[in-house]
Symmetry: C2
Subunit: 323 residues, 2 copies
């Protein structure tokens, strides 16, 4: 099973990233591909709708000459691929309307809602955006050294930031303060002890009738399995026994690693934590199947296929009810 | 299978942590348990060796009156448990020798090598240390706001830090800059296509003859499975196909989540990345079994049972060679 945002089409070339001369040569290389982000949204264009479903948004690609003025500024770059062209991504705060004029394609735009519009890319481009947006979002929020408060400078093609205060403790030894942050999150489909119902919750910001898997951040010193048990009990009051890892998904808003699990409930009473979610219910398998395959007239709406929540639900539907 | 550092004996009470009045009352509660850390080492005492193997180090526990002077300082606290006593952990830079005088037990000490001495706790205490040390290490390195460089203040019993600059962007919306960092790391036992050898590597800092599983940080926008494939290829040149999650382990040096996997190699030539490791070799199953059960005279030494690397190797040994 492959989740959206998961396909790696580019080589991360972490051995090359630290070579400043190589990076500079690649930046000027006429084959190099540049992506332009404004406010962490990638410039994209709507293509002809292919049969009414699926990917209809394509990333706009630029060459060095079209963006070199932006590189003079403290922009963020990100390299990739072996002999094939190298890719960089730039996030800029230039006026968005002016930026759009750089593109030959007149239908190009900056997706307004990252959570919705970024799900309309094709799988290959989604993987590139997952990497680029996570790293750019890190630069956007982590430009000061958390250890001493000084400014930092970008290194290794955007995969490191180093404190500019020569006395800073962060310069002695290797510390995570210098590297992009990835937040592990557990997301789980909780299965009723009878094997024929699953627990879904809704946040007040969800579209009408949509319910999804519960989820939460892994806390320090915690395993994946314990985080699943704790978050489910916190949010729904339901107790969980066995936990089974299914698959994961990078979620670049800003930089989560969604760790998807199935979990077997050992209790069934629901007590919703109203700070986190608005409602949580047990849904019978048939209602979930109907929602997934019969579409919008249903009483239950599940999240779109690009989400790991959808895939966890689909995986369960495919599983025999005799667990 | 339960990994060291994984047992949760305390309730994280994340619903209570944000209640400042409750926290203050619990701090003064005579039943409350305090742990004292100096330079991120917990004060501990050596107990009688129980039969020559296993846990022989116990955490020193304090009551409010014994540490309240340290609480006046900007110390870090961490709450736990339901009706049972609440636990706090304090990290202080007071003179270590002076701190030791607070303990009735004369054999107490601050473990010098966290990587070695912290592995001598019993399983229950190891879980507490995993949580406490990760959170304390975060405070130690993240006292300034990475978004604007201003000082921050501690909140929610140590599980949040808020920027003190009222104009900071971090105060609008919810951002990971305010929360403890957890770094996902993949650690993997790579199995030869013949099913009867495994790939182990050694860093130059390892004890003589010790080899362990390869490991590396998950990068932004990457899945667990891709991180396994990338790190194995970077460090050893070996290509990997199927990846199977086995179990995970919190590793509080400072705050990693070690995600343990088995991975099946699709190539066998080894090309070591000398920046990262000193050597990598295929080891036959029998040699690994001998090393694990016959001890120190062997040509191969595997990491101790408290490491997830050990458990991944042990798990493989238990698996039939016909994969
Ligand atoms: N790394 C993080 N990023 C954002 N919010 C976090 C993080 N860690 C903990 N939180 C808190 O967790 C809440 C979301 O709850 P949950 O996703 O269920 O753990 C947020 O509103 C924050 O208060
Ligand atoms: N969060 C992080 N903490 C520490 N080092 C990191 C981190 N992310 C990337 N690195 C780099 O990764 C190297 C270790 O390589 P590996 O563990 O194989 O990924 C370190 O020496 C750092 O250069
Ligand atoms: Mg939650
Ligand atoms: Mg949470
Ligand atoms: Mg949640
Ligand atoms: Mg590596
Ligand atoms: Mg690495
Ligand atoms: Mg490594
Ligand atoms: Zn600094
Ligand atoms: Zn700030």
């Amino acid at each position: 099973q492959e989740n959206y945002f998961s396909r790696e089409t580019l080589d991360r070339l972490s051995g090359k990233r630290s070579d400043a001369a190589w990076l500079e040569a690649k930046q000027r290389d006429p084959d190099t591909v540049y992506l332009l982000f404004s406010n962490l949204s990638p410039m994209a264009t709507v293509t002809k709708v292919n049969g009414g479903h699926g990917a209809d948004v394509k990333l706009c690609r630029f060459r060095y000459n079209a963006v070199k003025d932006l590189l003079q500024k403290p922009a963020t770059t990100e390299p990739d691929t072996p002999d094939a062209p190298v890719w960089f991504a730039i996030n800029t705060d230039e006026d968005a309307a002016e930026l759009l004029k750089r593109c030959e394609n007149s239908s190009c735009f900056f997706p307004k809602s990252p959570n919705r519009d970024l799900l309309r890319l094709d799988e290959e481009e989604a993987g590139v955006v997952a990497q680029a947006r996570s790293v750019l979002a890190w630069h956007d929020r982590y430009s000061f050294c958390p250890t001493c408060g000084s400014p930092t400078s970008l290194q290794e093609g955007g995969h490191k930031r180093t404190c500019l205060n020569p006395d800073c403790r962060s310069l002695k030894g290797v510390h995570n303060t210098c590297y992009p942050r990835v937040d592990p999150v557990v997301i789980m489909l909780v299965i009723h002890p009878d094997g024929n119902q699953c627990l879904l919750g809704r946040k007040s910001i969800f579209p009408a009738r949509m319910f999804s898997c519960l989820a939460g951040f892994v806390e320090p010193g915690e395993t994946i399995e314990e985080a699943v048990r704790r978050e489910v009990e916190e949010e729904s009051g339901v107790k969980v026994g066995p936990v089974q890892y299914v698959s994961c998904q990078p979620w670049p808003m800003p930089s989560s690693l969604m760790i998807g699990c199935h979990a077997i409930a050992t209790s069934t009473d629901i007590k919703v934590d109203e700070n986190e979610i608005e409602d949580a219910q047990w849904f019978p398998r048939q209602q979930v199947v109907d929602s997934m395959f019969r579409g919008a007239q249903q009483t239950l709406v599940v999240p779109p296929r690009q989400t790991i929540a959808h895939q966890l639900i689909r995986h369960w539907i495919g599983i025999n009810s005799n667990l």
